[in-house]
Symmetry: C2
Subunit: 317 residues, 2 copies
DNA sequence: TTCAAGACTGCAAACAGTTGCACTAAACCT
DNA sequence: AGGTTTAGTGCAACTGTTTGCAGTCTTGAA
């Protein structure tokens, strides 16, 4: 049924090992035989079986990518870039979704372990111990989480948050709210410590909140009650939900309160008002993560973020 | 290094075949030995090697999913649902992105073929012939494309388009534009033929257009020039771009012109005005596609769509 | 008591490749 | 001419698991 290396060997009058080598070590075989084997292989429609190859070499040429929620608009650009980078080096990409369930991370890594050469873990929520245990099973790189000993790619959201709050300060705001993210999120912690350090700004922290539009919507009451003129939201979805919630309460953005988001998802660009936000280099992170994985270098890199000023911020009344 | 079935066999004093059976055919092994093997396996941290298993059984327990553009907001919910369905049956999912390049479809399927038990192809653009050729290599199901002989899941966008145009008619519109999608798209053709059949409506077709916000933006001039009061756009991104383009030209939605999109992506819900749109059951399609694949049934199913009326449509001036 | 049936388990041959080693023949060097 | 290197190829063992077949040991029935 399926054509194997032996069929090609027979049809081209050489031993299987020669066929094997024309594919995995072409320089070791005579040019003439090589082309003969290749044409025969082409005719027969032979493709090396990667699973079988993996068995002896131990390398699968597959990578795993684990995110909390594929449908969260933050991730697709990252996934896309990771896929492109993998493809470029002839790797295939498993994609998995933990559904925001930390336990699923561990299980997925385990399940992947024999089938991939490495996995990239985005914003993992598992404990350090659990991650270290996993590191013994399969190489991985973590994105947006600090982890000793593992390859890491960080997006410098702290810097972005500082820029955002400074932007608000520059517009004349003095009292701003931080509508924070879920408890235990590295990103959320980074944002907070950075925001707190901006001089001349009185920061009130509201949270933790779900990292969703709904979470932002639900925080609207508390934002209104704490008498701020500016808000930094955990991410764009939260910002959009918050803007909607504020509108329901008669407050308009940016006239009554300025809101800045984080991530720069497309919905933010399409939203009215267009969101001022901290652009996260998600594509670069995805690409870099798989490159690190493939090259087996364990470095920790921090990617630049930048502030994109659009229409949701203005001087206070 | 890595613990194999032999290690478990040795440690629990049975033959490897018994260990194998405790995992793949538990009912064939004595309860006592089974538990012994399982505890030993647990202690040693043994996980069956799927690649090796695939070699003898021919089943990899992997599936492939190919879409045109992972970052297109239409797809992530589909991918997520497909992943969940796969996971539920202990399958892993390769995800790939053709970058809107039809040639990539064929190449990706080829590359996947030995490594998956089947692939789901979303809105493929390859020729029928090419697809039939691929069908010989690996089972697949196509989404949003009609293909004889292959398992198919369709979203009944024609019906949705008809509802949309009827909705406009009901509001009193008489002349509406169809801002169509890319040439050769099955979906676009479906929309068109359905929209043309609504009585009492004079339809002017504008296109083909890129299926993006930019495409919609670029169509704004032609929409203005053709003196319509209502528009059906190929998808929500086009609709949003169009609304923006119209605003630039001093036309507001829905006061001056009503716009209805298709897909019901989140950006449409978050957009101002909130988009009236045809909701596509993407999650259901993803789930169904992998179920069909796993169960190896080749049926063709058509999923219901429905009209969601929000704020971008109103009676004409 | 004897025999057949059934429940477990072991044996060994696959599955589709890779790779260290051995071998041959040609090319190169004095 | 003789020896040494080198290029190319074949041989066979190995990767981790499954599975048809055969063997052993119980168990139940006649």
């Amino acid at each position: 049924m399926t054509v194997t290396i032996r069929d090609v060997a027979r049809a081209s009058g050489v031993h299987v090992s020669t066929v094997s080598r024309t594919f995995s070590a072409p320089h070791m075989v005579n040019a003439a035989t090589r082309t003969r084997v290749l044409t025969v292989a082409e005719e027969l429609g032979y493709r090396p079986n990667r699973a079988a190859r993996a068995l002896t070499t131990g390398r699968t040429h597959n990578l795993g990518l684990i995110v909390a929620d594929i449908a969260n608009p933050f991730f697709p650009p990252l996934i896309k870039a990771a896929h492109a980078a993998a493809r470029q080096r002839d790797y295939h990409l498993f994609v998995a979704d933990t559904d925001e369930e930390p336990a699923a991370e561990e299980e997925l890594v385990q399940a992947f372990s024999k089938q991939v050469d490495g996995v990239v873990l985005c914003s993992p929520r598992s404990s350090n111990k659990a991650l270290e245990r996993l590191a013994e099973r399969v190489p991985f790189v973590v994105v947006n989480r600090r982890l000793r000993g593992a390859a890491t790619v960080l997006m410098d959201v702290g810097h972005g948050a500082r820029l955002a709050v400074e932007h608000l300060a520059g517009l004349g705001h003095r009292r701003v709210a931080l509508v924070s993210g879920p408890a235990g999120s590295w990103t959320s912690a980074e944002i907070r410590t950075a925001a707190e350090q901006v001089p001349g700004i009185e920061l009130v922290v509201i949270g933790p909140n779900a990292p969703t539009e709904r979470g932002g919507f639900a925080a609207a009451d508390r934002v209104r009650d704490c008498a701020v003129t500016g808000v930094l939201a955990y991410n764009d979805l939260v910002a959009i939900g918050l803007i909607e919630g504020l509108a329901d309460r008669g407050l308009s953005v940016p006239e009554d309160v300025s809101v800045v988001g984080i991530d720069d998802i497309v919905s933010g660009r399409l939203n009215r008002p267009k969101l001022t936000t901290v652009a996260m280099p998600t594509a670069a992170a995805g690409r870099l993560a798989v490159d690190l994985l493939i090259q087996e270098v364990t470095a920790t890199t921090s990617l630049e973020t930048r502030l994109v000023i659009r229409d949701s911020t203005a001087p206070p009344r």
